[in-house]
């Protein structure tokens, strides 16, 4: 099993990786350039991972299903219908019969096995093949508890995505969002957490208090959000492991619009007092706030650059809501948005190259991106209301919420989550059990 560069990772879900390509192929290898606008998705065959016992066969099918769904949703892959497969891959097969896969025009093929170990844990191994080059592109083994099998599938999908696009994946991630129910004038809002593909949805708060705008810490273990728990709006922290909630922005006036610094040591937030909102940085160890802006305006929705050196925010100091950048220590701010309309909710890409925003113009809302110097503005989607973009950790996909108009009886108006490629293509609903808003994408969980 150690042939072809298989590294048997023993850790919980750790994947240690080395790929031994004996003799690189002369021809151009299977690769997608995802920076191009319109992409023809790669036909990929993902048969069920092979197993011997019944539970292994089932797990093999489930794993293949989740990997297929992840890759399909990316818009970059076209998983082929398993009914078209000619070869029935079994545990004993070391090499695929490439001819069988070429015949159905699969460019890439995923094979693998599932075994239950003596300790009851699952051992999953997979290989990614370039069908036309007849060559293995990747291969890994993972060991984990049975309940954790979906994460293995997401990690495999990330590896396939990375091997073929050259970019990090984003499938082994979670979304925290606000789940909504009830009439529009008495909306019940709860914090909810789910896997990126909508699985494992659970509620973190019970809906008795209004909660808004959750955001992950860089370890994805904590969430900072706004809660009306004690009657007045304040910034809170929620620990996902312990379920503990604690107030952090408890100084005079309303505190809101929190976001973690990239090192996780600080939360930047807005504080409203006497009709003006200014930005503060809160040291999570000392709990001491430092003032960053001192304007007579509304300064809010701050977001750190990934290197922690700068903060982008929106302010109406110039007369209308626009985007500004300043040092993370405060000081002089420079306006970067100069198009027509208003700009809000700026969020710095994890790659640092772009800032996503909500734009309001001519009665419509837009999600767009621009470079940190304000150049290269590009609008990705437009609707009655689209708001609150959040980046996938690889900076290639955005999620946001979309809401239709409502009538006087409260029909319509249901907010839902959507994702879209940075190219503006592949807009899709991210399904949630109830209405949903304010999504925030976690970093990769590893």
């Amino acid at each position: 099993m150690k042939k072809n560069g298989f590294i048997l990772a023993g850790a919980l879900i750790a994947a240690l990786a080395t790929l031994l390509h004996a003799g690189a192929p002369a021809r151009a290898e299977l690769r997608i350039d995802i920076t191009r606008g319109k992409i023809e998705p790669v036909p990929i065959a993902i048969p069920a991972l092979a197993g011997s016992a019944a539970n292994e066969t089932q797990a093999g099918q489930d794993l293949a299903g989740v990997v297929s769904a992840d890759l399909e949703r990316s818009g970059l892959f076209r998983p082929l219908d398993p009914r078209s497969f000619i070869q029935n891959v079994s545990v004993a097969d070391v090499q695929p019969r490439f001819g069988d896969w070429r015949q159905i025009n699969a460019q890439a093929l995923v094979t693998g096995t599932v075994k239950t170990q003596g300790d009851g844990r699952l051992r999953v191994e997979f290989r990614l093949w370039d069908v036309f080059a007849e060559q293995q592109l990747s291969g890994y083994g993972y060991t984990t508890t049975q309940q954790n099998w979906r994460r293995i599938a997401h990690i495999i999908a990330d590896e396939i995505y990375k091997r073929i696009t050259g970019e990090e994946g984003y499938f082994d991630t979670r979304i925290v969002y606000v789940s909504e129910s009830g009439p529009p004038d008495k909306r019940v809002k709860r914090l909810a957490l789910m896997d990126q593909d909508g699985a494992n949805n659970r509620y973190l708060t019970d809906g008795r208090t209004l909660v808004l705008t959750p955001r992950f810490s860089p370890t994805a273990q904590e969430i900072t959000y706004l809660s009306y728990a004690k009657g007045s709006p304040r910034v809170y922290l929620f620990n996902i492991d312990t379920g503990q909630q604690e107030i952090v922005g408890d100084f005079p006036g309303m505190t809101f619009a929190p976001r973690f610094s990239p090192d996780g040591n600080r939360v930047v937030l807005s504080r409203a007092e006497n009709g003006v909102s200014n930005l503060f940085s809160l040291d999570l160890r000392t709990r001491r706030p430092t003032r960053l802006t001192d304007s007579q305006a509304i300064d809010t929705s701050p977001s750190f650059a990934p290197d922690g050196s700068k903060i982008v925010f929106n302010s109406d100091r110039g007369g209308s809501q626009q985007l500004y950048i300043m040092s993370a220590d405060g000081g002089e701010a420079r306006r970067i948005s100069f198009g027509s309309g208003k700009y809000g909710t700026p969020v710095w890409s994890p790659r640092g190259d772009l800032i996503a925003f909500t734009k309001i113009e001519g009665g419509s809302f837009f999600i767009g991106v621009m470079r940190p110097d304000g150049s290269g503005e590009r609008l990705l989607t437009r609707d009655f209301l689209v708001e609150g973009p959040t980046w996938a950790p690889n900076g290639r996909v955005l999620m946001y919420f979309r809401q239709s108009p409502s009538d006087s009886r409260g029909h319509g108006g249901s907010p839902r989550l959507y994702s879209i490629d940075l190219t503006g293509s592949n807009q899709r609903e991210v399904t949630t059990p109830m209405d949903a808003s304010d999504p925030a994408w976690s970093p990769l969980l590893r």
Partner: protein, 164 residues
Amino acid sequence: MHARIISLLGALLLLVACSSPPPEAPPAGPPGGPGGAGGIGSRNIVPGSQQDLEASAGDRIFFAFDRSDISPEAREILARQADWLRRYPNVTVTIEGHCDERGTREYNLALGERRAQAAKNVLVAAGIPAARISTISYGKERPAVVGSTEEAYAQNRRAVTVVN
């Protein structure tokens, strides 16, 4: 001098308000009863209560889109609220600031706070102690009128004075 004119005007408007209750008023008893000081009588309104404030002064003021300046109409309502608050010195209130749905969530939280504060400033300038008035913003979270129409938006851009 000016303040007195406004309060006189307020008293006049008060009578008008009592003779034609706003549609939001609870249908308690026949309309047009003797409102007097706070609508006691056939309408069974408790003096110093929220219903009394609504009937005597009006509990809310409205704003233009993305604005927090106090219109002349809003100033009259706040003057009546100030009169009413002077009449019941033990009453404390919370002013709730609200927005329509056509802004981003966090900006609207700030705008709602700014509107509540603008209303509070008028009451304080009219002599009501700041300690009797707290403010809270609900941004676009609690519309008064449901629907994506200009009429609904105009009703939702508001500051509502709520008796604690």
